[in-house]
Symmetry: none
Subunit: 173 residues, 4 copies
DNA sequence: CATGAATGAGGTTTCATTCAT
DNA sequence: CATGAATGAAACCTCATTCAT
């Protein structure tokens, strides 16, 4: 990965996240990256290739978070780690997450399978703890995760920490 | 509001919701509405005006849901009504909600003030019920609402009803 | 000529003179006139018909100025009246003259024949006064008229009166 | 300045001069230049940018004529050079001058400051020669220049040369 | 590897004009 | 007589992409 390639990726990530993929022209990306427009196509084939490259980076970085949960072992720890996920994302990754979340609403981009592994683990954890409807509980946690992430990415509530405390107590973790 | 105006609005809502605002050309809207492209501009001034007209409709229809919660009175009822909100939206309004949610991610479109009134009522309800940190509880509910709506609009989980039961139990409502 | 027709003509004259014929849309004319756009076409057939109606008014009003010169009789008086022409136009007619002058530069609009009668009288006057090259003198006066009118319509020099005195002295009139 | 840029400029100058700026579409310019329409915008940003580029060329070429007058020195020579100005313009520059003159009538395009330097020199010349009202004399010459140029550009009178002789005699130059 | 000129398709918008009411 | 909804063509401009250098 050359230096210019990275510049392009960074610029594209930033612009896609702030203004949306469709609203960001390759020429704006080139200008922001300080690079000729043609270079984008040499390295990434086309605009969609650029997006895919970015999403691959995102996948990579989200895998790290996920494996941490997977390796937790005990059910309570699984749940706790899970609830803490939105709090683990570094501010420097916000653009990436903004883009990921925004793209969910762009048709044909939603891929639920990514979460299926986690959902299974979570359900299992609840089952081990004797919850009545482990599947529903797992789904509920996912909804929280989604809602929390959205809140953090969009308007950053002041009482983030309190909310975590609050929900942890509910699950006793 | 002439008949053709409504056709335009309906077509635009549909296309914006399915493919995104930026990716939907006015010519596609015109074609879908069975109308000349120029007519869009006569009635809505420009593409953004068309979007605004749609969002006004959305506001109107969300006000109805909200006032229902506001009129609930008793704290428990407030919370219950609140949690049920995502379940109240008619399938016929999904396009509108998809668009509303998608637009949150389009820069400068997020308006948190819309929820402030509800947030206040909710916090008050939790306070009356003696919750330790009513503000965090309110925030948490909002996160659930957001996450649930997202799930419903994007992949419609099979166990919607169970999830509701599950969370209601947590709040004892 | 109904009241609305006059409103249209006045609005069109004003806008054509200020912004140019090509740059003025019929919708702007209608708005300025406080009239529906369709009415313009009912009364004037098309945009060019509107222009023609205006130019006819202009012709009419310029004929008045010209006949005054023609009736002057004595050569010196002819020349004096001629030189005074640009000073005779009422400020309320400036729009019309601006438009007339501007249109000269719009291809196929220049009609030199309009001036031929005047040119002949002028040449005759110079001949009677024994000028060496009456034709060139007549042409020269026309150039002055054109230049002076242009100056008055475009930037209104402060020493208009002095210039008239100055040139009158040259012709001893 | 690439070859195609020049082609665009030449085509635009020609069409703007013949048919007017507002009446000339960028697509006509592109066709006349044998170039894709997009290229116009890549090189000149927008239609107005194209016009500005042309006017800059015009400025450049008019500066040359003007400096010649400025370097004349003796008052009589200044005046003579001045009067001869409209006769100096090469036929190949007519389009440019037609456009320049036509644009004066397009609102907000008139820039009298360009002539101020010349006006000053001219006034000075008349002063040195003891004319009674040098300012009015200067203005008068400008009017002649404007009228003569207009005549040359619009209908090319047959007795151009005679007119020059005629006016030179009046100023004894 | 890198540039930037060049393109053609398509985007939003404006316009002159028609027509039902 | 008068309106204003409706249209289709054309206006200006942007875009993703290609290619010669």
């Amino acid at each position: 990965m050359t230096e210019k390639q990275e510049k392009i990726l960074k610029a594209a990530l930033n612009l896609f996240a702030q203004n949306g993929y469709a609203s960001t022209s390759t020429s704006k990306v080139a200008k922001e990256a300080g690079v000729s427009e043609g270079l984008i196509f040499r390295h990434f084939e086309n605009k969609e290739g650029l997006l895919k490259a970015i999403m691959n980076m995102a996948m990579e970085s989200s895998k790290q978070l996920i494996t941490e949960v997977m390796l937790a072992g005990e059910p309570k720890k699984v749940i706790r780690k899970m609830l803490e996920l939105p709090y683990q994302v570094d501010r420097s990754h916000y653009d990436m997450w903004r883009l990921t979340y925004a793209l969910k609403w762009q048709m044909n981009m939603y891929d639920s399978s990514a979460n299926d592994a986690l959902r299974l683990i979570l359900k299992d954890a609840f089952q081990q703890l004797g919850y009545e409807d482990p599947e529903a509980e797992a789904e509920l946690v996912f909804m929280f995760l989604d809602g929390a992430s959205t809140a953090f990415l969009l308007h950053e509530p002041k009482n983030k920490a309190d909310v975590l405390k609050c929900i942890k107590k509910k699950y006793n973790v």
